[in-house]
Symmetry: C2
Subunit: 220 residues, 2 copies
């Protein structure tokens, strides 16, 4: 499903300094797998996830998604593949401040032209799955850290995407809520999704089928 | 050092709905203690920490800081006590986007009228303590989640405040980096600081002298 060959990614810092973040990275992830990505702070996990999520490009190598090469895509091509395949939970949630919880969760359905009443109905179901139905009308600044994180998760799941990319989805959660979230991931994995979770939490990684470890931009 | 008596805090949601978040909360924290605050997502930990940090007010009860009542303070009085006593690590870091890492860390010294060259020198020392000296010139959007968290920590420590309030300071860190940060907290605690850490991580809580548990806005 996902094939990464010799991926290199650089960031420019200032005008004459380049940081080599991903270094000839190689990885394969098969359809329907539940994998975790671990590595120390700054090792390149979010960078890798952004490339997988077609949110960022890379400097050399090839990224095949479902046998299609994801390289030099236009903005509309990137958006097409993203909306077709991928649900993304961001490390810093990225909720829209001027929309409330259910509106944020419903956003991917809006792009799929689902009617407003149907969007709200489904969004409330997904908020319920993450224990936040009562908070549907709160705006993001009226939510705790862990509540924002769960709203971001509900938004990533609502279109039942084939691939879920989650960047530290339990980082702001207590252990009981974290277990509930992991049960949700296991359930959608059972329903056929390919699930890739970046995590620092060994208990989360232990629930996955395989751990991909990153060290200084390389899979080790 | 810190005495909370019958603290009640409400948030208004919309125009006719009030959420009772802290309910007659009682707690005492002694000078020089190293304590953790635990509780499920949404239980009121950040709300409590914001009140302790004089960043937010409360609806009834009394909060005594060093025997002075912190109630109905003006903006300048709040700022005075905050700058005098408190270093705060925010759950969502709150770094200034238009300043780089060392400038963000140096900010509290700027308010103390320290010279620029001296501020930069000390800021680099504190970045070094959190393993990020090489990232001094990166702006926040050029930092990983865990790097931002550590910059926020360095900023909270730089004025050697009497009280450190840290809202989930290791949430975005791998276990090795997390251990380094806890060693830093232990060191400043040894130097006499009162340290209060909100955490979901039992391993972090186990390093503290006492755990204050919050459940539905009450200390249990
Ligand atoms: N500005 C606000 N307006 C309305 N409600 C709020 C506001 N801030 C927080 N809340 C609500 O108050 C409750 C407590 O929030 P708080 O941020 O203190 O929780 P927390 O214990 O820090 O949670 P977490 O572990 O998820 O960070 C939550 O139910 C939240 O939705
Ligand atoms: N936009 C950017 N410009 C420059 N450097 C960047 C940028 N984004 C990230 N970096 C750097 O690239 C490296 C990898 O960052 P990345 O966010 O992928 O790390 P991470 O493994 O997700 O870390 P964490 O566990 O702390 O979230 C870090 O050293 C970071 O400072
Ligand atoms: Mg990251
Ligand atoms: Mg919180």
């Amino acid at each position: 499903m996902i094939d990464l060959k010799s991926i290199n990614k650089y960031y420019s810092i200032g005008k004459d300094h380049k940081l080599h973040v991903l270094k000839n990275l190689e990885a394969k992830i098969y359809e329907g797998e539940l994998v975790s990505i671990m590595g120390s702070s700054g090792s390149g996990k979010s960078t890798l996830l952004n490339i997988l999520g077609i949110l960022d490009d890379y400097d050399s190598g090839e990224y095949y998604l479902n046998d299609t090469l994801m390289k030099n895509l236009s903005a509309s091509q990137s958006a097409f593949y993203r909306n077709r395949f991928i649900g993304f939970v961001f490390q810093s949630f990225n909720l829209l401040a001027f929309k409330n919880a259910w509106e944020n969760v419903a956003l991917p359905l809006y792009y799929q032209k689902v009617s407003r009443s149907q969007r709200q109905k489904i969004a409330l179901e997904y908020l319920d799955k993450v224990g936040l139905r009562e908070w549907a009308n709160h705006s993001p600044n009226e939510l705790s850290g862990g509540q924002k994180q769960r709203v971001a998760l509900a938004r990533a799941l609502i279109t039942k995407p084939k691939i879920i990319l989650a960047d530290e989805p339990t980082g702001a959660l207590d252990s009981k809520t974290s277990d509930e979230v992991m049960n949700l991931f296991k359930q959608i994995h059972k329903e056929g999704a390919t699930v890739i979770i970046v995590t620092h939490d060994q208990e989360v990684a232990d629930v996955t089928e395989r751990i991909i470890r990153l060290k200084d931009g390389l899979v080790v």
